[in-house]
């Protein structure tokens, strides 16, 4: 019984770590695309009809 609980906790911990890692990766991707847009387009990015 205790073994099953320990196994379950280990599974949950592994899943949580994977979720955090995936979240961090997605955050980095968003930042990279944001920064890339600024670098590639520069101030011209604001140069558009509103």
């Amino acid at each position: 019984m205790n073994d099953l609980k320990a196994e379950d906790d280990a599974l949950k911990a592994a899943r949580r770590k994977r979720s955090v890692a995936l979240g961090l990766v997605l955050g980095v991707v968003v930042l990279v695309f944001y920064a890339l847009t600024i670098v590639k387009m520069g101030p011209a990015i604001f140069n558009r009809p509103l």
Partner: protein, 310 residues
């Protein structure tokens, strides 16, 4: 108990996969070599990139290499499970399900090509896509299990990254970029055949037709010697094309002489334990050779590039 059973009888418990397993799926050691050679191509190419764009381009090439690794591990799970060198990889060890490896490989391939296209240019992105295709399909699916020349032709996939790096800067390819390709292309056979000589049993158990298993140890050592001589001579091409100068020529000569001597030493070895020892020594030296050669190539090439600019 296994959650899923596949055709080769490996149990998979994907829910227990750690973050490190997903990283291992991308073959980080291969990725580091790809990053290094692509960076050399990028820095030696005529022209410049914004440092952030260059960083993103290198990351895209690294992710593309990782995607190829994941696709390779998906397809080769059955033979990886048999070989001592590869049986602890996440798919054959049962920590990541094969269909997950396939999904990650395909998703990262698309992402890396798109990212490189948006960051640098679509010529480099197309070339990266071709490189991933070449490694995952031409080498892994087709050549690896079909012919003892697998790593000769398949070696092209490992030789493309400096050309991708070059294309990321220039948007085109040139003779200098092809020279970098040729050096890695000719380096691959002696490197992998030296490994295959002392891991012969592994490849035989997995049923992979590596040259030592098909043609024998003597024929393999002859081929190693021929490719080593070709490599040592080809390493002087960057001097002839004017990409580098005297410092590199000296390094290429010194490193090349040692490479050729080790290959000759392997050729003259008696079959048995001594042969495997010399094969292991050539394999290790080949890694150091390529790294040092490219470091000197980069340093000397940058000096030439800056002197032309200044």
């Amino acid at each position: 108990m296994a959650l899923v059973e596949d055709t080769v009888g490996i149990g998979y418990a994907a829910a227990e996969a750690r973050v490190g397993d997903y990283f291992a799926l991308l073959k980080p050691r291969v990725m580091s070599l790809v990053v290094f050679t692509a960076l050399v191509g990028m820095l030696l190419a005529p022209g410049t990139l914004h440092p952030f764009v260059a960083l993103v381009a290198i990351a895209a090439i690294a992710i593309g290499a990782g995607a190829s690794g994941a696709l390779n591990m998906w397809y080769d799970a059955d033979i990886d499970a048999v070989m001592t060198r590869t049986r602890n990889r996440p798919v054959p060890a049962g920590r990541i399900a094969p269909q997950d490896a396939l999904g990650i490989g395909v998703a990262l391939s698309c992402f890396s090509v798109g990212l490189l296209g948006l960051a640098a240019n679509w010529v480099a992105a197309a070339f990266l896509a071709f490189t991933i295709f070449f490694y995952a399909v031409v080498y892994t699916v087709w050549l690896k299990r079909a012919t003892p020349q697998n790593i000769v032709i398949g070696g092209a996939a490992g030789a493309f990254p400096p050309m991708v790096g070059w294309a990321a800067v220039t948007g085109s390819l040139s003779l200098d970029a092809a020279t970098l390709f040729l050096i890695i292309f000719l380096w691959t056979p002696p490197h992998f055949w030296a490994l295959a000589l002392y891991k012969k049993g592994d490849y035989a158990a997995a049923g992979i037709p590596m040259l030592p298993n098909v043609a024998g140890e003597t024929a393999t050592r002859n081929q190693i010697l021929v490719y080593s001589v070709l490599l040592v001579l080809t390493a002087f091409l960057p001097v002839l094309t004017g990409m580098t100068d005297g410092i590199y020529a000296f390094a290429a000569a010194a490193l090349g002489v040692v490479f050729a001597v080790l290959a000759l030493h392997l050729r003259l070895a008696e079959e048995g334990a001594e042969l495997r020892r010399r094969a292991r020594r050539l394999f290790r030296y080949s890694l150091a050779y390529l790294f040092v050669l490219f470091v000197v190539l980069l340093a000397d090439g940058l000096l030439v590039k800056w002197s032309m600019l200044g």
